[in-house]
Symmetry: C2
């Protein structure tokens, strides 16, 4: 690949002049500018961004670290971030932590070494790994999305989760359900919040759910599928309604229900978090807390860009409101509610 020096030689000027033509920040005589531009064209010169980044201490690249890049929720989020930052010339290094703290640490290290200008992270766990405090010290611009960390104040954007979970479960209670299960993630704040909303709703109804109604697994298809199989294989002791805390879990659960020959909502009612469009042609149409990952992404991008711009930044914690969209995945339990209250 050609360098400034090659161009300079060809155009018969110094490298400084070529650099100035390219940057456009300095006066260059029109005739020489022409000559340089021509040289650049014929030599097919492309500036070396690496050298430039070294000199300028700026890479124009942002790191995005999500648990699963294939989860539609994060796909939407990432796309919104990309769309928000592209006009300012930033590009994205996207990576998946697979919900593993070790991979998260490793990738943060990579981001650091690559000298990315900032990062957007959906942390794996509530309790920050050892690397996190360093990060803060290093003052690298960070915005957390979807989840937060306990004990460390970092700018974050997420969607309301506890209250809406409570409402979902209350909705089920309103239909007469008493045996209500939950299929949840494990380590993230969202998982805790959603479980907390679930518990609150039940508590206010005087219900204490049995331990085996509460599944803690991963935010993935498999967890939902296995939970569905487990719940429904002993139908008599199964919950009459289930709260799936995430879109993938809901999908997996649904598949299990179908495979076992049961139907929603005739045999079991389901509510979940999800994307209204994704579910458009699903049968049945699910009653969901409508999530808006794109909005989360836009906010996160905005906040990160502000920081990059040198704005002071006062550790904002943005919580976006959510709404519930009713579908037809809920109806009253067929049998009289078994008594799990005490």
């Amino acid at each position: 690949m050609k360098t400034l020096k090659d161009v300079a030689l060809y155009a018969g000027v110094s490298v400084a002049t070529v650099s100035r033509v390219i940057s456009g920040n300095y006066p260059v005589k029109e005739t020489t500018r022409k000559r340089v531009l021509e040289a650049i064209g014929t030599l097919d010169y492309h500036p070396n961004g690496v050298a430039r980044s070294l000199k300028n201490a700026k890479t124009y690249t942002l790191g995005v670290l999500v648990p699963d890049i294939a989860n539609p929720y994060f796909v939407q989020l990432v796309r919104a971030v990309e769309a928000s930052v592209e006009k300012l010339g930033y590009h994205l290094l996207v990576a998946s932590s697979d919900e593993k703290a070790s991979k998260e640490s490793e990738l943060i290290r990579v981001f650091l070494e690559k000298r990315l200008d900032g990062m957007i992270i959906a942390p794996v766990s509530v309790t920050p790994a050892t690397d996190w405090p360093q990060l803060i010290v290093n003052a690298l611009p960070i915005v957390l999305v979807d989840r937060i960390l306990e004990g460390i104040m970092i700018d974050s954007v997420r969607e309301e989760s506890r209250q809406s979970s409570k409402e979902l479960v209350t909705h089920l209670l309103g239909y007469g359900h008493r045996a209500i299960g939950i299929v949840n993630g494990r380590t993230s704040t969202t998982a805790l919040e959603r479980e907390s909303g679930y518990r609150e709703a039940l508590q206010e109804a005087g219900i204490i759910p049995p331990e085996d109604f509460m599944v803690r697994g991963d935010y993935d298809h498999k967890t939902g599928y296995l939970a569905g199989k487990r719940f429904l294989s002993h139908k008599e002791q199964a919950p009459t309604a289930v709260f799936c805390t995430n879109n993938l879990i809901a999908l997996g659960f649904l598949q299990a229900v179908h495979e076992l020959g049961y139907r929603v909502p005739e045999d079991i009612s389901i509510v979940s978090f999800g994307d209204p469009f994704e579910a458009t042609f699903q049968s049945p149409k699910m009653t969901i807390v409508v999530q808006n990952p794109a909005e989360v992404g836009r906010y996160a991008a905005f906040m990160l860009l502000e920081k990059l711009d040198g704005k002071p930044g006062k550790n904002v914690e943005v919580i976006l409101p959510t709404v519930i969209r009713l579908g037809d995945s809920v109806r009253a339990p067929r049998e009289p509610a078994q008594m799990y209250s005490n």
Copy 2:
């Protein structure tokens, strides 16, 4: 951020020694190694990857350029690429061209300037933009995915498309359909191949489809939706079956059908390209050509890594086979087939 110099100063050695400790490629006395490692730890030193890349002419970053990063097809593809290259220490810069040649050019330029080690691209158009030839000359390792370019030989991986399109349409013909529409993309090779398969099947049946049965738009939801509205708003002249050439188009078309109060396959039969899992709970279950983007991604990654390894490379053109999965989105047309043959 700390530098080698800081560490060297702190440990009382030269920068060269610190560098050698880090790389591990040179002999360093155990006691000094310890001292250096300690310095690195207490100073929280992270090597500057930018400087390293400049020196080594290697960024360990690959560019991935797809038309739409939110399309599940490309999401799967990208994820497979990521999974394939991560163990070798490569990371991904992902960007969307939005099916715009201008954006594609721009992003290729960015990739070039960032000195990425290689790129994987799903080109927007069959006819290469002016930048493409340069790319080849620059000998930057490239692998095309999903689509190819006319007139330039570049390694590529894609799925068989023409023959399977033909089979899909033949399947429709077998059910007695004669008025068969197609909703397609515009510029890519896949669009051409799918249309070509469609035409062949019809031709062999002695049918020449009217121009307005052939919609050419984008590979997106909207194109499918609009086509659906258009076809079905004049039901009497509408096709009795439609071939949607892509998952998003199919989804959009389906939505239009639903909104207009029609049903599949009672009122109209549909076949398409798609992902068998995505469609699991769709009603109806679509008859599709099963695509396997992950496999495409794995192949592309493998081929790119080979090139990066300095393997000669002989311009391979990989075409992965596809299979058809029958669903229940097709049945015989209700009214006697109108005659479009001649």
